[in-house]
């Protein structure tokens, strides 16, 4: 909400500068987003002396206070004698110097300003007409309304009470201890009685606890300059004096008001629930279909307003209106909120009603409006105000303790200080005993329930800065490490050291993409209200996001993309959702370029390196079995098992899928992808290996080179070798598959022998062991010693 500093000063004396004021109220909970001075630059006041219209142009002869000048305008025609703001050629407005402009045969000596030129919500082609008393030739900022600051305040939802000039002034009163200045609300009636013209009843007191109506004969015309200006400053477009006055009272007091054209009302007024599918065309000229949970204001025939939200078009004020019914009511916040939300119709009125409008404000607001109508709409007021309510609206009584407030805040405010704050906030404090006191929260404070609420009032008015920081004394002890959290850190660190980049992707994706990697559609979790279609289903796999990242980076010219993500995936589980953790990883492109290694392309064994590192973090080892996943290359992929549990897969993306992602298949640059369920890896995070004794005698190593059939898995040979009781370890150190025999490969292993006794091996013993190893693998895999 934008608050005019001048308007505010009508409610309370302010002795500090506007920036100090902004700081003060910010620190008391009304957050000031910005303070802007209205700048008028070189604008001066002039008066239209004569108008010549030709070819859609208006050529104004303007009295500049010290002669006349001609200004040409294409905008809406002004009237003779109108006071206007203009800038002469060669003078400055905003960042520009006004330049001479020619309209065919006419030359303009300046420009006439509109409210739009001051950043206000108004048509740009409508010259702003100033007050009649403005002095020709004077600077524009000699007019009070142009010598003002606009204070933009962001209100938290609990502070409905402050959503008006008066509301802000009340906080300033509490802070500065100045008295509020309520505007004069006197008006005179015309002798006729309101009963002669209208009657009203409430059918649903729960949703409309109070409804008041006044009746007035009026004359519709433009509002005076200051009302127009203040509405413009508040972001409201002036319409006519009647509508403007209801809006003016809304901004001043926070009471939404509505004026009906009395001649358009059939019979009496009833506040009732709408009928199913009842329709109304509102002030915005749109038709709304209502339901029976919505409250309407109705005459004998039809709904004439959506209660607390918007009036109807048919009964609205027109140029011909001569008598109005002025509504000032209190509606149930939840009811208004539900209606506004269902209709997607949010107005200044609904905004306030759904947060809470003081039920005791209705008559005051009406009285002020009637006074303004007397002054600016030639009002003749019918005697009496219809005021429907079942009961009066009492202040909430809260019992507090001084010690309780200081204990909660950790403060040392003394009783008098606290008492005074309560007084200044109009909470009418009364001391009970030595420590207890009672406050009566005003009916505009919907946020007051208990001592903690009162403590906050004390703290915000005394200033949060006046509570000295302390460190808590706690009896909590450190519980235990959170394994998921620790695991995530370990994975992130380990894989990044290996040369992988951690990525973070949205948890929602596109179902068509998801289906490429996960056929189990029944388990997908869909969002009811996604922002966009390709973010409508919760991921069950990390792969989609990684593929998106790959495409993004390729398009940005990346040559090397090694990435991983640890995150959650989501599966439908009856009415709820099961969440679990996965680690996904992807490699594509050239290995990192450097001067010491030959550049190559990532292949299956690189991605296997990642899965092995992941196994290592959890002190586990995986079994790799050929995978049959449709999205993977049938001959270059593996399913990974930990004990008997399938944790996931690694492999090359199936060549057919590249196109789906808009990536051209390149035989050399394969996409390697892998994904593992992290649940049991997290569980094994703190698994340790017990220390094994180091043999006292020096290590004996022997190399063994064999030729094997290509389709034999080396893993099987290695585990056979390792099963030999005399072998400590076997390391594959050479693989060569370009032999003359095309279906063969050569393999070389370095064996470390295990000495099961304490004495040194004899050469014959070593030969015996190596031979026995060779014989085993020869028998099992039909390998031959390499010649």
């Amino acid at each position: 909400m934008i608050v005019s500093y001048n308007w505010l000063k009508e409610f309370i004396d302010i002795e500090c500068s506007v920036s100090e004021l902004a700081d003060k109220i910010t620190m008391a909970g009304l957050e000031v987003d910005s303070v802007k001075k209205i700048e008028t630059y070189d604008a001066v006041i002039g008066q239209i002396a004569k108008i010549t219209s030709k070819n859609g142009l208006n050529i104004y002869k303007v009295d500049t206070g010290n002669g006349f000048t001609e200004i040409v305008s294409t905008g809406k025609r002004l009237n003779v004698n109108d006071k206007i703001a203009f800038v002469e050629n060669g003078k400055k407005f905003k960042d520009t110097i006004i330049k001479s402009k020619e309209f065919g045969e006419f030359k303009s000596n300046g420009v006439i300003l509109s409210a739009y030129d001051f950043g206000m919500d108004a048509p740009s082609d409508e010259g702003l007409v100033l007050e009649e008393t403005a002095k020709n030739g004077a600077k524009l900022n000699s007019i009070d309304e142009f010598n003002d600051y606009l204070i933009e305040i962001e209100f938290t939802p609990n502070r409905a009470d402050a959503l008006s000039i008066l509301g802000v002034a009340r906080d300033i009163k509490a802070l500065t201890k100045k008295e509020l200045k309520y505007p004069n609300k006197d008006f005179k009636t015309n002798g006729k009685k309101i009963e002669d013209i209208i009657s009203a009843k409430i059918e649903n007191y729960a949703n409309c606890p109070r409804y008041t109506l006044a009746a007035v004969d009026i004359k519709v015309k433009p509002s005076p300059f200051f009302i127009k200006m203040r509405l413009l400053k508040s972001g409201i477009r002036p319409i006519n004096n009647i509508v403007d006055i209801t809006n003016y009272v809304l901004m001043a007091f926070g009471q939404p008001m509505h004026a009906f054209d009395a001649d358009k009302i059939d019979g009496s007024i009833t506040i009732r629930n709408a009928q199913i599918q009842e329709k109304i065309t509102a002030l915005d000229s749109k038709e709304y279909e209502l339901d029976e949970d919505m409250l309407v204001i109705s005459d004998d025939k039809k709904a004439i307003a959506i209660a607390g939200v918007m009036g109807g078009e048919e009964s609205s004020i027109s140029d011909k209106t001569t008598t109005i019914l002025l509504e000032s009511a209190h509606f149930n916040p939840t009811s208004v909120r539900l209606t506004a939300r269902k209709l997607k119709l949010h107005t200044e009125a609904s905004h306030r009603f759904e947060r809470g409008v003081d039920p005791n404000l209705c008559i005051d607001a009406t009285s002020y409006a009637l006074k303004l109508l007397s002054l600016y709409a030639d009002a003749k007021i019918y005697e009496g105000i219809i005021d429907l309510k079942e009961h009066s609206f009492e202040s909430k009584k809260i019992i507090c303790k001084y010690s309780g407030i200081n204990k909660l805040l950790g403060s040392n405010f003394n009783k008098d200080e606290i008492f005074e704050v309560m007084q200044n906030l109009q909470f009418k404090p009364q001391n009970q005993d030595n420590d207890s006191f009672i406050v009566y929260a005003p009916t505009y404070r919907f946020d007051m329930e208990n001592e903690a609420d009162v403590a906050e009032e004390v703290a915000r008015i005394m200033g949060y800065g006046n509570i000295t920081a302390t460190m808590p004394v706690v009896s909590v002890s450190f519980k235990e490490e959170n394994k998921i959290n620790s695991y995530q850190k370990r994975v992130a660190e380990a894989l990044s050291y290996m040369g992988m980049f951690e990525v973070i992707n949205y948890s929602f994706t596109e179902s068509s993409r998801l289906k490429l990697f996960d056929k189990d559609e029944d388990k997908f979790v869909y969002l009811k209200n996604p922002l966009i279609e390709n973010q409508s289903v919760m991921r069950t796999t990390i792969a989609c996001g990684l593929m998106d990242n790959l495409v993004f980076n390729i398009n940005k010219g990346a040559k090397t993309v090694p990435i991983f993500e640890f995150g959650r995936v989501f599966f439908k589980d009856k009415d709820y959702v099961k969440e679990s953790y996965k680690i996904g990883f992807l490699m594509w492109g050239n290995t990192p370029l450097n001067w010491f290694e030959k550049e190559r392309f990532y292949d299956f064994y690189d991605i296997k390196g990642v899965s092995e590192a992941i196994a290592g973090i959890s002190n586990s080892s995986f079994i790799y079995k050929r995978s049959e996943k449709e999205f993977l290359h049938p001959k270059r992929s593996a399913d990974l098992f930990l004990q008997n549990e399938n944790l996931g897969y690694i492999g090359e993306l199936h060549p057919d899928l590249y196109e789906v992602f808009g990536i051209k298949f390149d035989r050399k640059k394969r996409i390697l992808i892998g994904e593992l369920s992290a649940g049991c890896l997290i569980e094994r995070l703190n698994n340790i290996n017990m220390y094994k004794k180091i043999p006292k005698i020096p290590t004996v190593t022997r190399d063994l080179a064999v030729v094997a059939d290509k389709d034999i898995d080396v893993q099987d040979i290695i585990s056979t070798i390792k099963n030999n009781e005399n072998i400590y370890s076997a390391t594959l150190f050479d693989v060569y598959d370009q032999l003359k025999e095309k279906n063969k490969k050569s393999l070389a292993f370095r064996l470390i022998l295990k000495n099961n006794s304490d004495s040194t091996f004899k050469d014959t013993e070593i030969d015996e062991i190596v031979n026995s190893v060779y014989n085993e693998i020869e028998n099992k895999f039909n390998v031959k010693l390499r010649g």
């Binding site: 620190m27 008391a28 909970g29 957050e31 938290t156 939802p157 916040p333 909120r337 539900l338 759904e354 909660l408 805040l409 950790g410 403060s411 946020d447 208990n450 906050e456 703290a459 949060y464 000295t468 920081a469 302390t470 460190m471 808590p472 706690v474 009896s475 909590v476 450190f478 490490e481 959170n482 959290n485 995530q488 990044s496 290996m498 040369g499 980049f501 951690e502 973070i504 992707n505 949205y506 948890s507 979790v525 869909y526 969002l527 209200n529 922002l531 993004f552 980076n553 940005k556 990346a558 090397t560 993309v561 090694p562 990435i563 995150g567 009415d575 709820y576 990192p592 450097n594 010491f596």
Partner: protein, 340 residues
Amino acid sequence: MNSIKKEFDSLVKSVEDKESLKQLKSSFVGKKGKITHFFKQMNGLPDVSKREFGRKINELKGYIEDEIRKKSQEIDKFVKQRALEQELIDISLPARINKFGAVHPITKTIIEIENIFQSLGFNVEIGPEIEYDKYNFEMLNIPKEHPARDMQDTFYVNDNVLLRTHTSPTQIRIMKDTPPPVMFVSPGKVYRRDSDITHSPMFHQIEGLLIDKNIRFSDLKGVLIQFLQMFFGDVPVRFRPSYFPFTEPSAEVDIGCIMCKGKGCRVCSHTGFLEVLGCGMVHPNVLANVEYGKEYNGFAFGLGIERFAMLKYGIDNIKLFFENDIRFLNQFSYMAGKTL
């Protein structure tokens, strides 16, 4: 004899390698050397002269042998030195280390924040990302139709299940299952139906909760000032009243703008302050909802990880975190400052 010494001196100076030195040695003190030749000449001399002559020759021989030895050492040293010099390498060549890889700046920031709170005695807890409406809103004192729900536009899975809009439901989950006292932080992803230059539909928060006997608003100030100054350095911290349905009193915390040092700039909208987190004393209704006794109270706080990371690293667009451009990620490498 002097001329021989002079000749030797000049010759030995020009010797540069062991082989020439050996030749030089034999040409003076070898079997056919000049000194040996003198000894042979000595035979024809009278005894007195012989003795005198012999002494001088021996002296010269000794001198030559010494010089040869010295020269030999010199050559050894020179040869070694030259061998080392030939092993010159370019020490400016990049190291033989993998320059790729980085932890995502969000993870990095979460770890840093967790470490600070863990050092202050907080545990770490993790909550689900898909939540019941009950935990995300109702038990946090945000009933259906509460205007505060407007502050957090929500993604729904069904009427009762949603993507959590903040990490606060973890408070409820932990308190429901753990008797007081509790003291933890809880990082994680949160979701809001909002997407523009400054908003991402998914982002990260870290929640903090401390419930014990005798916890005061002043303690909340103490802990958060400590944390913010550990994270951002020695910055001014201010607390100002705000509103969250689940805390009372509530506060918004600002730090002095780290870009302009409080002078006012574009980043802080010329206020000199940056809003960094929300906090407050846990609302009595929330404590009642989890059936904590009246003798317990405490504070809660929540902050956006992206905002902290953006301020700390000077990142100006939240989208960068989720585009995962390698050129962006690489700037957060453990080898920060390296180039791709």
